[in-house]
Amino acid sequence: MALVEIRDVYKSFRRDTQAVDVYTGLTVDFEEGSFTALMGPSGSGKSTLLNLVAGLDKPTSGIVRVGGAEVSRMNTSQLATWRSRTIGFVFQSYNLLPVLTAQQNVELPLLLTNLNKRDRAERVAIALGVVGLSDRLEHYPRQLSGGQEQRVSIARAIVADPQLILLDEPTGQLDAKSSEEVLTLLQRLNDEFNKTIIVVTHDAKAAERAKTVLHLDKGVLVERQAMQGAHG
């Protein structure tokens, strides 16, 4: 069953006086519990696809549906609420708030829920435990390595228990060892916790961990590749 449905999506940007088409009728599905890597050259529309799925951007036309909800029709306020419950987003440059500790950063999505302080702390501890950073609760981002920062941002993405985790080049700024740790973690989230994962990457090793690899070029889906034996 498709968790994410992209139907006949058109998206164009205006750059100065010129209109630049990113998609001209893109249609693609992402199954529930899938782990998909989106690959392609720069400017092929990978990150735009993530933004559309997360409701951070709107298609010029077409439908974006996640879990049955039509994201492309929601207003800003509905999107924010929906996003806090449904989506976990991980950025290439971690984007942790430097003035907050790891614990406080991870807690951010929970501030929007009705959970009390104790329950929030419990959930944060679990999320940081999943990413292996239980001993870094009080550390500020500047006191963490790049790999640890990215794991904190993954903990922030999963703490509200969303169905869908979107990652934009999560290993782009990490060394080989940290990349491995992050990828193993993603695989675990997909295998053990049945999270649906869509990851934009240029990294072939990252793509190898996915169950499916989609190749985009100039906004067109050029290849769908099922990865054999990637998991388990």
Binding site: S47, N51, A54, L56, D57, T76, S77, A80, T81, R83, S84, R85, F89, F91, Q92, S93, N95, L97, P98, V99, L100, Q104, L108, P109, L111, L112, K117, R120, R156, A160, D168, E169
Partner: protein, 381 residues
């Protein structure tokens, strides 16, 4: 409340900038409250005086004296039920840094006419009346110099040169603080005894039986002295106070204008600091939106941050404006006795602080709330 750590962390991000912004707001509110207090105090002073008291002064100018003999004639004017007089002595105590205005008064009649305003214990009053070198001082002055009843105090005369030693025999307290609790009242006879014909009353104070007759009484007095060597100008005590205050010019307008200019300047500084904060954090705002923060929540967080700075600054500034004059016994060299920040001024100051927080926070809050996430993220990625 659960967002408070986030607000606090953001405020602590640039500790120096936040501190300076808070201090600039504190300074603005301190100046505003102090300047407004000058205005309100002048207004209180200009309305000071009992309805049944009148002042007789030299028609040429307040600084010229009147003959002592007028006292007897004034007492015979219809509706006048009491006459006393006073003279500006102008001495200083110690190094003269602390200013106060000693007055030579006719003790018995002065305390009688002001018995409802200057409250003196009966035994102290008797001791004061008995002794020619005795003095009664306000409790504020007693405290300011650390004097005690029974102390001998020597003033250096400025208008009447020489050392003048007095014995403190009593203190007075006030019903109306604007009279000032730093007066120094001594026997006119003591002054006269030493300088003889070089002194005469500076002004007369009359008590009348019917305040509605003050106009008639004033005309009657001024008419009767019109052709004398020292013509008089008579008016109610309130008119005298108001006339005295007009000597400063339109100080209310000046102070009000300066106060508002200061507040406006600080508003710009606070708004600029808030805008800088927000501009630096556009990527973080985008992240917050990505995790699900609504535009409204983002807007509120920025406004709360601005309000926190404005209200903290206001609390510091207004607190200082309240405490400092009390601690230093400030009275503007005796011209603003009872100088204190009124609750009305505190309320206006708090209102300004609230307005400041809304005005300085609105633009950055609006910008943050309306910022497109993708655009902000693109700047980061």
């Amino acid at each position: 409340m659960k967002f408070f750590p986030l607000v606090l962390s953001n405020l602590m991000r640039h500790k120096l900038r936040t501190t300076l912004t808070i201090l600039s707001i504190a300074l603005a509110l301190f100046l505003f409250a102090s300047l407004r207090t000058v205005v309100t105090q002048l207004e209180i002073s200009s309305q000071l005086g009992a309805a049944n008291r009148m002042i007789v002064q030299n028609a040429t100018a307040f600084i010229f004296p009147l003959p002592q003999s007028y006292a007897t004639r004034l007492a015979t004017i219809p509706h006048v039920t009491g006459v006393t007089w006073a003279n500006w002595f102008g001495g200083k105590y110690g190094d003269g840094r602390k200013f106060f205005g000693p007055l030579a008064v006719d003790p018995a009649s002065y305390l009688e006419i002001y018995k409802n305003d200057f409250l003196v214990q009966s035994d102290q009053k008797e001791a004061f009346l008995r002794e020619r070198t005795a003095v009664i001082v306000g409790q504020g002055l007693l405290k300011a110099f650390g004097w005690k009843i029974g102390d001998n105090v020597t003033l250096q005369g400025t208008i009447y040169p020489g050392d003048w030693t007095f014995t403190i025999r009593g203190t007075y307290s006030l019903k109306e603080t604007a009279y000032g609790d730093e007066q120094f009242l001594f026997h006119y006879d003591y002054l006269y005894e030493r300088v003889k014909d070089n002194v005469s009353p500076g002004w007369f104070i009359l008590r009348i039986d019917d305040p509605a007759r003050s106009g008639v009484v004033a005309k009657s007095i001024d008419d009767s002295f019109r052709n004398s060597p020292a013509p008089t100008k008579t008016g109610t005590e309130q008119a005298f106070s108001a006339g005295f205050m007009t000597m400063f010019g339109n100080i209310q307008l000046l102070m009000g204008t300066i106060g508002m200019a200061v507040v406006f300047a600080i508003l710009l500084i606070a708004a600029n600091a808030m805008l800088m904060n927000q501009r630096e954090r556009s990527s973080e705002v985008a992240v917050l939106k990505t995790v699900g923060f609504t535009d409204r929540t983002i807007f509120s967080l920025v406004i709360v941050e601005a309000a926190f700075m404005a209200l903290t600054g206001a609390a510091l500034g207004l607190g200082l404006a309240i405490i400092l004059p009390k601690a230093t016994h400030f009275n503007a060299f005796g011209f603003l006795p009872g100088f204190h920040v009124t609750s009305g001024t505190v309320m206006v100051g708090a209102g300004i602080a609230l307005l400041l927080s809304v005005l300085s926070g609105f633009t950055p809050a609006y910008q943050a709330a309306r910022m497109p996430v993708v655009q902000a993220l693109r700047r980061v990625e």
